[in-house]
């Protein structure tokens, strides 16, 4: 590790060139210079968030394949004179305009719907507009004719009779083209050309997707530069150095570029979930650079590092390296826990976010210090602003945390079950139309059409009998008719249509009586003949050529996943009651979106559990203690619990974006805990006292922790400016939860840490006890090297120069010393004479008499520079509690040493 640090420190130019080379390749991956366009893909579809092998999605695709694409763009135009010859003429003109739009294969409206006029033996199948032209006297009856027709009711004309609807099938238009050419704008222009300023509303799946894609693009365009702007301002305010600020911004920029390149190379599009990644990477990168710059700034205050660039970089990397690497590890582990989710979008988020976190860390530890070294930032030494104020605050906080330690811990422990109780109210759900602000055109239009036409969302029921011609059996048709009546009675359902309605209309038309009630023909032959010879295209879209499977289409008035799920559950129950050979299953975009949300919720708690366990394992490894790992986790668990409690309390649904927050916060918040505990541990060991260490550690980390929290919260709050409500919610809740984590880290963490002496893995790895201490130091006999280091770290490793009095005869002290290296003299003064008793070297134990309550019996001076381990009964007790195996061996060895000494003394006396 030190070799790598040295390489980075000695070759800053090479490091920068290497990073820029990789970045150039990343740029080529992201940007197509020939096509002058970004290669990143935007996928606004929520149903494609589901895995391709998902059964719901497979059924949806199968039904679409069999019966053709059913997603139409719905246009509602307000024509106050609709039921007049002029109004009908306008409908025809609009029809022609819409049909002329590129990629439009059909437009369905009053201008294409047969008005079904029967007189004597004639059946007039001309459209409403054709009849309006040929027989203006019939216009007066159109309204009633439409109301009587289940196919047209609230479909061609709104309930108030003022708005004409057009269903535009633009299946020849790709999503990209629909977005690029702005089809809603084209439709509005076409409408304006015919109907002037008549109010027009446009909705449909393609419209929703285009609006979502545009909102995602706008969100990316807004959030990323906004977070960058925040970086510049915050870094400038914090460090008062343009060079440092620009260096940090460049670091974050490269991390973002590498992440985008990874997205392109891994073929991961930006969708409702992964669109969060760019701003998240920038935000995380910002917090990492703050830690590095803080260490760099710290280095500038050390006079011996002032003129030695290499030494300074090494010092900075050693100071910040562990914390940043651990941060990257915990953050990545937390993100990667989302890989357990079945949704590809969530897994893509996990991969991209963790990659971004790793890139930001690596660049912060290589590119940034190299850039700082080369740009001469060291020449600008300034006192960090706000340091004095934060230092004073840290002192007060430390005192508060220690004074109210029990209350703070008690409060935190109470909050967890309390919030868990509130969290029981959480539901997985999403209001898809409400992803957009109430004032947005796409939502206004959706709500207007949903209101005026009794629903704007389509669900389908796929009926399969597996028997040819089964759907021409009058009994079966009767069953389906009864099912449709039941469906119409559901409050969420606006309209229901199937081939049964076509059949009844055909039967009445061929029966010759316009006023006769609609009914099903009595024979299978009549049904089949009507469907085959009278059906046409409309029938092909709802029943297969062998009459064994069919589609019942529902227009529903709700789009919230919970409402859709409730309806689908009722329908499923009703379908299960159908007699054989009828089998039915619900499908459609709203159902897929609902399933997506349910999948997310199902994986949520597993992901959180895995993230928590992974971080606990990491912390336990780093702090070499399961208990220490658990305690270090507590300040992270509490804000997450509060977050879920808040969701339950405020009735906020667990959506595709809000479900990400917990894992993100767990990964980020734990970093600050680690920063504090690591610093506290070092200070407590150096000063051999916890209370001052709490103050010094808090003073040291409060500024970077606060700065990084401000940076992270600001970064997440930028999402509040997004056009998508889901992203706004994500930003606000993330910032809120991270703020809670900050509160915990400046109160609960010090309260917990004040009684916790921890040993980090980094300490163990770095600690030098000389060669094979377990063999050369009798007190450590039987221990492994790691155990020997753990014991040493729970004791105090002291350095003393030659000529130091370590123990003074007659003093009352309970410390025991073990010589690690150097030479000491044990002597007494008798009758004014310096009398050397012995000379001690490595492995010798000194002062054990004090441990057993006696006064010091001799003086001990250092003859050379020495290193000694000092411990007392409290240390041994702590060791016994935390590491009982190590304690047992140490106490055994101590006992053995005492016994040997006693035996020697007895032998001397004899």
């Amino acid at each position: 590790m030190q070799r790598l640090v040295l390489r980075i420190a000695t070759r800053p130019l090479l490091v920068i060139m290497l990073c820029l080379l990789i970045s150039a390749a990343a740029l080529l991956a992201v940007f197509d210079p020939l096509g002058v366009r970004l290669r990143t893909e935007i996928d606004p579809s929520i149903e494609r968030l589901l895995p391709s092998q998902d059964s719901s999605r497979a059924l949806y695709e199968r039904v679409r394949e069999q019966f053709g694409a059913g997603d139409a763009v719905i246009v509602a135009v307000q024509l106050d004179d609709l039921f007049t010859p002029a109004g009908m003429a306008r409908v025809e003109q609009l029809q022609a305009r819409y049909a002329a739009l590129p990629g439009v294969s059909a437009v369905l409206s009053l201008a294409t719907a047969p008005a079904l006029y029967t007189s004597e033996d004639d059946l007039d199948l001309s459209t409403f507009t054709q009849q309006a032209r040929a027989h203006p006297e019939r216009i007066a009856g159109f309204r009633q004719r439409i109301a009587d027709n289940p196919l047209y009711r609230n479909t061609l004309v709104s309930a108030d009779g003022r708005k004409a609807a057009f269903a535009i099938l633009a299946d020849g238009v790709s999503e990209r083209q629909f977005l690029h050419d702005d089809y809603p704008a084209l439709i509005r222009a076409a409408t304006r050309a015919v109907a002037g300023d008549a109010p027009v509303a446009i909705t449909g799946t393609q419209v929703g997707r285009a609006a979502t894609a545009r909102a995602l693009i706008d969100s990316l365009k807004f959030t990323v530069p906004a977070v960058f702007a925040i970086i510049l301002v915050l870094l400038l305010l914090a460090f008062r150095s343009w060079r440092a600020t620009l260096a940090a911004a460049a670091t974050v920029g490269l991390a973002l570029l590498w992440t985008l390149a990874s997205a392109v190379l891994l073929d991961m599009p930006f969708n409702l979930v992964t669109a969060i990644v760019p701003a998240l990477v920038v935000t995380l990168g910002l917090s990492y650079t703050i830690y590095l710059l803080s260490a760099f700034h710290d280095a500038l205050t050390r006079p011996w590092l002032e003129n030695d660039r290499t030494a300074r970089t090494r010092w900075v990397l050693n100071r910040a390296g562990l914390g940043l690497l651990l941060s990257a590890a915990t953050t990545s582990a937390s993100f990667l826990s989302l890989l357990t989710n079945d949704l590809p979008a969530i897994r893509h988020f996990a991969v991209l976010a963790s990659l971004g976190s790793v890139y930001a860390t690596l660049l912060s530890l290589s590119f940034l210090p190299s850039l700082l070294a080369l740009t001469g930032c060291a020449r600008r030494r300034q006192v960090p602003p706000s340091q004095g104020m934060l230092a004073a605050l840290a002192v007060r906080l430390a005192a508060f945390d220690q004074k109210y330690r029990r209350w703070i811990i008690f409060g935190a422990l109470v909050l967890i079950p309390l919030d868990a109780l509130f969290a029981l109210r959480i539901h997985a759900g999403a209001e898809f139309s409400k992803s957009f602000p109430a004032s947005s055109e796409v939502r206004r239009d959706y709500e207007a059409i949903n209101r005026d036409f009794d629903g704007a969302n389509l669900l389908s029921i796929y009926i399969d009998t597996h028997v040819n011609d089964a759907l021409t059996d009058p009994a079966t048709v009767g069953q389906l008719d009864a099912l449709q009546e039941w469906l119409r009675a559901q409050p969420e359902v606006g309209a229901v249509v199937s081939y049964v309605d076509h059949l009844k209309l055909l039967n009445r038309g061929f029966g010759g009586d316009d006023g006769a009630p609609l009914h099903i023909p009595e024979s299978a032959a009549a049904i089949k003949q009507l469907l085959v010879f009278g059906g046409g295209d409309a029938i092909r879209r709802v029943v297969d050529p062998r009459f064994r499977s069919a589609l019942i289409q529902l227009r529903i008035k709700v789009d919230g996943s919970r409402q859709v799920d409730a309806l689908v559950q009722r329908i499923d129950h009703r379908l299960a009651a159908m007699p054989p050979p009828l089998n039915g299953v619900v499908t459609g975009s709203p159902l897929l979106a609902t399933r997506t949300v349910q999948e997310i919720a199902a994986g949520q708690f597993l992901s959180i559990a895995i993230a928590t366990l992974a971080i606990w394992a990491l912390l336990s490894f780093m702090f070499t203690s399961i208990r220490a790992g658990l305690l270090a986790l507590l300040p992270t668990v509490v804000p997450v619990a509060i977050y879920f409690g808040t969701l339950g309390l405020l009735g906020i649904d667990l959506s595709p974006t809000t479900c990400l927050i917990a894992c993100i916060v767990i990964g980020i918040a734990v970093d600050d805990t680690i920063q504090f505990l690591a610093r506290f541990n070092a200070d407590a060991r150096a000063g051999a006292a916890e209370a001052p260490a709490v103050t010094s550690a808090l003073s040291a980390v409060l500024r970077p922790v606060t700065l990084s929290t401000v940076a992270l919260c600001s970064g997440f709050l930028v999402f509040a400016g997004s056009a998508l409500e889901t992203q706004v919610q994500f930003g606000l809740l993330s910032a809120f939860t991270l703020f809670l984590a900050w509160i915990m880290n400046i109160t609960l963490t010090p309260a917990l840490g004040s009684k916790l002496r921890i040993v980090t893995m980094w300490d163990i790895l770095r600690l030098d006890l000389g060669e094979s201490p377990q063999y050369t130091i009798p007190l450590l006999s039987g221990l492994s090297l790691r155990q020997a280091r753990v014991f040493a770290l729970l004791s105090s490793l002291e350095k003393h120069p030659a000529g130091t009095r370590l123990i003074r005869e007659g003093d009352l002290a309970r410390d025991i010393y073990v010589v690690v290296d150097g030479q000491l003299e044990v002597w007494v003064e008798r009758h004014g004479e310096h009398k050397r008793l012995s000379t001690l070297t490595r492995g010798a134990v000194i002062g054990e008499a004090g441990y057993f309550g006696q006064r010091r019996t001799a003086n001990v001076d250092t003859l050379s520079a020495v290193r000694v381990l000092r411990f007392d009964s409290q240390d041994l007790e702590r060791l016994r509690l935390r590491y009982p195996r190590i304690a047992a061996l140490v106490l055994r060895n101590l006992n053995r040493i005492q016994a040997e000494r006693l035996a020697r003394a007895t032998a001397m006396l004899q």
Partner: protein
């Protein structure tokens, strides 16, 4: 919103399309085709002059398959004649059993087309008017408008003769024409006309330069009845939807006197 706005397109256009197809697409004389025509009008003339005065298609089979391969098959017989250059045509379904006896009559009149449909299960004859022309014919991939292109595309509009091509070793004249039928779904029809038989062996129905539907006749399926050529099998594919319809003809009888009752609104469905 439901896309099922347009519903009833009754058998009028269906029968009419099939009859037109029979008259124009299936039969053409070899006599006129022997000499290779020079321009577009000559190619059209060669094709048009080949329609016989009367025609009986002994057995026609329509098999419509959706994109999943689910297929419905109809069998029937077609009778057609021209009276004062106006078409009279009737088709009667023979199979399957539950559709047998259904009949369709088309009569071209100065005042407009007359169409009648008879369904045995309802025991009623209905005169149909006002149906759309671009809808599916009995659930097949054929529409009246499509066939109208074949029948009339090559008249009324300004056909353009593109560069001749050789397909599968056969010389072809390539005609392209903009449809004259109002509200047609396609903005161009291209036909590859066999130079030897004057039969259109391939017809592409295009929208914005992309073929949406394709009619194909394999040269091996061309047969001669007297002086007339006809195809024993035609494949119509909806390239966008993935569905296809196969039309099979077992044989034709041209220029034979046909009884008037076959074309009378009160009698067309009677008898065998």
């Amino acid at each position: 919103m439901h896309v099922v706005v347009r519903c009833q397109e009754v058998a009028r256009r269906a029968g009419r399309a099939l009859l037109a197809l029979s008259l124009c697409g299936l039969a053409a004389t070899a006599a006129h085709a022997a000499a290779a025509p020079a321009g577009a009008s000559a190619v059209l003339e060669c094709m048009r002059a080949n329609v016989p005065k009367t025609l009986t298609v002994r057995d026609i089979q329509l098999s419509a398959s959706d994109r999943k391969g689910s297929t419905r098959t109809l069998q029937g017989r077609i009778y057609a004649s021209r009276e004062d250059d106006k078409l009279r045509a009737m088709i009667r379904i023979a199979a399957p059993a539950d559709l047998a006896g259904a009949a369709y009559l088309l009569r071209e009149r100065e005042s407009g087309d007359e169409m009648y449909v008879y369904m045995p299960a309802l025991q009623k004859v209905r005169r149909i008017s006002g149906a759309a022309i671009d809808g599916s014919l009995w659930g097949t991939d054929l529409s009246y408008a499509d066939v109208k292109q074949l029948t009339n595309a090559f008249s009324g509009a300004q056909p353009k003769l593109d560069r001749d091509e050789t397909v599968a070793g056969r010389a072809m004249h390539v005609l392209s024409v903009a449809p004259t039928v109002a509200a047609a779904r396609f903005d161009r029809v291209r036909a590859w006309v066999d130079a030897r038989t004057c039969m259109a062996l391939r017809v592409d129905f295009e929208q914005a330069g992309v073929a949406q539907k394709r009619l194909t006749i394999e040269p091996g399926d061309l047969q001669q009845s007297g002086s007339y050529w006809y195809a024993t099998q035609i494949l119509v594919s909806d390239l966008k939807q993935g569905s296809k319809t196969t039309v099979k003809v077992t044989g034709i009888t041209p220029d034979k006197e046909l009884a008037d009752r076959l074309f009378g609104p009160a009698t067309f469905y009677l008898g065998n």
